[in-house]
């Protein structure tokens, strides 16, 4: 290869590596800010500040949803399979909200360590299947 081109390739590669490292370090340092939500383990460990608007998320624990009969108040627990966190919310939940489903709630932690949510978003996973397949799976699981 022509020495001039070789020199250009080396220069460009060095610049790219340096830039990528710099950006990588910045993002590593900011990773707590880039994370969209705290996991219940992080909340349990006291990483999430109290009284500040933040997001927490996890899987809705089976049989944990308590609905008030006379209002839109609802309470449930979310888990990351290590710790769980209680969330209280007043309002209409998204269509995809159900037990075993991932959710992200925005709100403030109170002194009891409960998240008083002002917004609940549903996460969904990367699995898609037709209703018949899901029904068949449920059936085989039940047997």
């Amino acid at each position: 290869m022509h020495p001039v081109r070789k020199k250009r390739i080396v220069t460009i590669s060095v610049i790219l590596v340096v830039l990528a490292t710099a950006i990588g370090l910045v993002m590593y340092a900011l990773s707590q800010n880039i994370n969209l939500f705290y996991s219940p383990t992080q909340v349990e460990a006291g990483e999430a500040p109290q009284g500040v608007t933040l997001r927490a998320g996890g899987m809705v624990v089976e049989n944990s949803v308590e609905r008030a009969s006379d209002s839109l108040n609802v309470a449930f627990r979310v888990t990351d399979y290590k710790h769980s966190l209680r969330i209280e919310y007043k309002g209409i939940l998204p269509d995809l909200f159900r037990e075993g489903q991932g959710i992200v709630a925005q709100g403030k932690l109170d002194e009891r360590g409960v998240l008083i949510a002002s917004e609940v978003l549903a996460k969904h996973d990367e699995e898609y299947m037709p209703p018949e397949v899901s029904a068949a799976l449920e059936q085989s699981k039940a047997q």
Binding site: I12, S31, L36, L121, H124
Partner: protein, 248 residues
């Protein structure tokens, strides 16, 4: 290894004639495949067990989002070639593909928002995936703005090549954002190394629309490059001959 094709690519005349043959074919075959994939996906593929019909927007969202990233990767490679070998066609390629990629990134953002509202409950959230794709769109805008703002063509080509090349760092961030950080966006459904986590009657239409869209974008880019080649080589004899013989 035989490098003649690589050196041929450096010749605008050779490319112009090659693209006259292939541009149209790519566009029409691509459009046909795209139509099949989209009609099949939107009309006939099964619903999702949780999301129902709103899941069908995947047949537009995923091909467009993947293509937006592929276009930028191709521009980054062209930027590298342009800086090292100073091949005439590389900046032509970047200039022609940037608007195509920008439109794809914009459609990906808009279709994602439309999908997000019924499933997540929000149009937009500043999570790592959505934000990094917005950055991709802004990078496209930057490339186009620089190309149009600088009057000196040689200087503009160089600046654009640098931006294209450096912006490639954003691509792994987009790809791995859903794994490195907590995001609202779910991880990728399709991985090169694993079987897709959806049944065939769901991913086959997606394959059609993705391949169709790639071909369509390739063909449109070739057309755009041909126009740009004519502009830049307007003083060359072969262009005069070409225009006199075939018109534009």
């Amino acid at each position: 290894m035989n490098w003649t094709w690589f050196h041929k690519l450096g010749s605008p005349k050779w490319f112009y004639q090659w693209a006259s043959n292939w541009g149209g074919r790519c566009v029409y075959v691509g459009l046909a495949l795209l139509l099949v994939g989209v009609v099949w996906g939107l009309g006939f593929a099964p619903q999702d067990y949780q999301q129902g019909n709103s899941f069908r927007i995947i047949y537009i969202h995923v091909p467009v989002a993947v293509l937006a990233q592929s276009c930028y990767l191709a521009m980054g490679i062209a930027g590298f070639v342009s800086l090292v070998w100073q091949m005439k066609l590389a900046p032509v390629f970047i200039k022609s593909v940037a608007p195509v990629g920008a439109i794809m990134a914009l459609i990906a953002l808009v279709s994602g928002a439309i999908w997000g509202k019924p499933t997540w409950g929000t149009w937009w959230v500043w999570d790592a995936r959505l934000t990094s794709v917005l950055v991709l769109f802004l990078l496209y805008m930057g490339v186009m703005a620089i190309q149009n703002a600088l009057d000196d063509q040689v200087f503009a080509d160089k600046a654009v090549a640098v931006v294209s090349l450096v912006g490639v760092i954003n691509l792994p961030i987009i790809k791995y954002s859903v794994e490195w950080w907590n995001t609202l966006h779910q991880p990728a459904t399709f991985k090169l190394t694993e079987k897709p986590s959806m049944p065939m009657e769901m991913w086959l239409p997606l394959l059609f629309s993705a391949i169709g869209l790639y071909l369509f974008a390739a063909g449109v880019s070739m057309w755009r490059m041909q126009t740009e080649v004519l502009m830049r080589e307007r003083k060359a004899n072969w262009v005069k001959k070409e225009v006199l013989e075939h018109g534009i």
